[in-house]
């Protein structure tokens, strides 16, 4: 990173410390994509990546009075996001594991070795059961997003509701799925173990 960047970052932090909303907005424009990418790689979930980056910026604003002392604003920002991610993983370990499994199943990242199919099927079955139990609208939105790969915008258009509503439904759907997984924690953990590889 060049000195000029560091300088202008510090300048932004200094102005944010003085409640300069314009500087805050500029900082968000500069860093949000890179931070989101880091969060996405950590959480394997677009929803949580968005949440974490939002939380980080809100926290930054809330504590803005202390920002003028920060030596390396960029490192500071990435650190906040990483800290929040680790915290979230600790609290939602099981869900993150499932997300990891689901994300890899979706994108087919791992070349599936022969004989691993049993485990995959059982995992998918459990996830499906969780999704099947969702109220209709949540289920539809979850499936449009994760099965069909539509964006929030497209889903909003399809269902004639606002994007905001789509996201709220998604948040509740993930919450429901997490509760279901927690109820089946014993079974699931063993299952995750049983297949050896995801």
């Amino acid at each position: 990173m060049s000195n000029i960047d560091l300088h202008s970052d510090r300048e932004l932090f200094r102005r944010i410390a003085q409640s300069d909303m314009q500087a805050f907005s500029t900082l968000f424009q500069i860093y949000s994509k890179a931070l989101y990418w880091h969060a996405l790689k950590l959480m394997h979930s677009e929803f949580w990546a968005e949440e974490l980056v939002q939380d980080a910026f809100v926290q930054l604003w809330m504590k803005r009075s202390s920002l003028s002392d920060i030596e390396n604003p960029s490192a500071y920002l990435f650190r906040i996001v990483a800290n929040k991610a680790l915290d979230r993983i600790r609290r939602h370990e099981l869900e993150i594991k499932m997300q990891y499994v689901a994300a890899n199943a979706l994108h087919n990242v791992t070349g599936e070795a022969p004989g691993k199919q049993d485990g995959w099927d059982s995992i998918k079955e459990l996830l499906n059961t969780a999704v099947e139990r969702l109220p209709d609208q949540r289920k539809r939105i979850y499936q449009l997003k994760y099965k069909e790969g539509y964006s929030y915008e497209e889903i909003a258009e399809k269902l004639s509701i606002s994007k905001h509503t789509v996201r709220n439904h998604m948040a509740k759907a993930l919450e429901d799925i997490r509760s279901f997984l927690l109820e089946h924690r014993d079974f699931l953990l063993l299952l995750l173990y049983m297949i050896g590889y995801f």
């Binding site: 909303m21 980056v53 049993d118 050896g196």
Partner: protein, 391 residues
């Protein structure tokens, strides 16, 4: 930037590439579970992330949506800030949140880790085996390998014994192999396993309750090693020096550059040599047979039989961190399980006769496995390290 050479960094790389196995994912989650290691974890994560510089994903639309939500939440701060008031308000929220979260955290992580708060008396869980072994050098010195630091840990003639970051032991030969034969022995306890690279480059995986004796440098005409228990070999090719495995001082296996598994526990009725690729000659007293890949040689007291189409993947599953139960008799499974968890198994009444399906990660705690067995309608009781099974 120099890449850190440690296990945790490896786990992060696996995680980010989406290639982490179940066991690796569990290990990483355990490391993340320790908040005092956050600094270390974040540093390793960020280093591993350098491989993924271009961030795909966040669309302009979502970005502005996020900004809308952020400014909404941060908005109240635009007015002159009454800082004390604010801190109080958020301090309360934070305190409640921390309480809720730590409650959830303890609850979710209760079955593992030293932080467990147990309300009713419960027997301690039996953890699965892990990488541990004892290395006995030619002069009788012993080195416990789960605790020894990495790097060169001993010198045997011209060979230096090196412990790698992943725990594996390797023999590095500097200069010509010469002088007398210095015999080393690596042995694993029940509940242990270990990996080793011999001075000729041959790789050896040692299962629980097993041992291998070998020279620190192969100076004689044959590369001769001796094993008990179970070991998997990937023998380095060297036509001039045949590789010979002496099994329990009775049978032997002569190798011509190849991968194979030998299972020769004293409490099994036969020694099984399974060939993955290459060619080996199995000898039992006066008889011998040459195996081709996929075949298994079964040597018992006086007999030497060959099984065609052995389930090779199943035979070597242990070295990949997995129990493969498919089609095995209950009793056979329990023998392997007992060695891995270092427990003794007693049966009350009949030995269950059914066969199991499925695979299991070797990282599973015994309590989880027992719960699974109860699911099959078995009564199981663990007292100390003795497991009693009743149908």
């Amino acid at each position: 930037m120099q890449q850190p050479d440690n296990k945790l960094y490896y786990l992060w790389q696996q995680y980010l590439s989406g290639r982490a196995t179940g066991q690796e994912l569990n290990e990483l989650m355990e490391a993340i579970g320790d908040a005092s290691r956050d600094d270390e974890n974040i540093q390793l994560f960020q280093q591993a992330m350098q491989k993924y510089p271009a961030g795909a994903g966040l669309t302009d639309d979502t970005q502005s949506e996020m900004w809308r939500r952020i400014s909404e939440r941060a908005g109240s701060g635009r007015q002159p800030v009454h800082r004390v008031h604010f801190l109080r308000k958020w301090g309360w929220a934070a305190a409640v949140l921390i309480l809720l979260c730590s409650g959830a955290y303890f609850w979710m992580t209760a079955p593992k880790g030293p932080k467990t708060v147990t309300l009713e008396p419960q027997p301690a869980d039996v953890l699965p085996g892990s990488n541990k072994a004892i290395l006995t050098l030619a002069d009788g010195t012993t080195i416990t390998l789960d605790s020894a630091a990495n790097g060169a840990i001993a010198q045997q003639g011209n060979s230096s014994v090196v412990k790698l970051a992943n725990g594996e032991i390797r023999y590095d030969l500097k200069g010509a192999a010469s002088g007398g034969v210095m015999l080393n022995t690596m042995s694993t306890p029940a509940g242990g396993q270990y990996q080793l690279t011999l001075p000729d480059g041959t790789r050896v995986w040692l299962n629980a309750a097993s041992s291998i004796t070998y020279p620190a440098a192969f100076v004689t005409k044959e590369r001769k090693v001796k094993i008990s228990g179970e070991a998997y070999f990937e023998v380095a090719k060297d036509k001039a020096k045949p590789f010979v495995v002496d099994v329990n001082g009775q049978a032997s296996v002569e190798v011509l550059g190849t991968s194979f598994n030998i299972k020769a526990y004293a409490d099994e009725e036969a020694t099984r040599t399974t060939l993955i690729n290459g060619s080996v000659k199995v000898r039992n007293n006066a008889t011998s047979v040459v195996l081709s890949p996929g075949q298994q040689g079964v040597s018992s007291d006086r007999q030497l039989a060959v099984i065609n189409n052995a389930n090779v993947e199943q035979v070597v599953a242990w070295k990949n961190g997995i129990f493969d139960f498919n089609g095995l008799a209950f009793q056979a499974i329990i023998k392997d399980v007992g060695r891995w968890y270092d427990i003794r198994v007693k049966y009350e009444g009949e030995v269950p006769a059914f066969k199991l399906k499925g695979k299991m990660d070797r990282g599973v705690k015994l309590s989880d496995l027992l719960r699974f067995m109860k699911g099959f309608g078995l009564q199981v009781r663990l007292e100390g390290r003795v497991l009693t099974i009743k149908q």
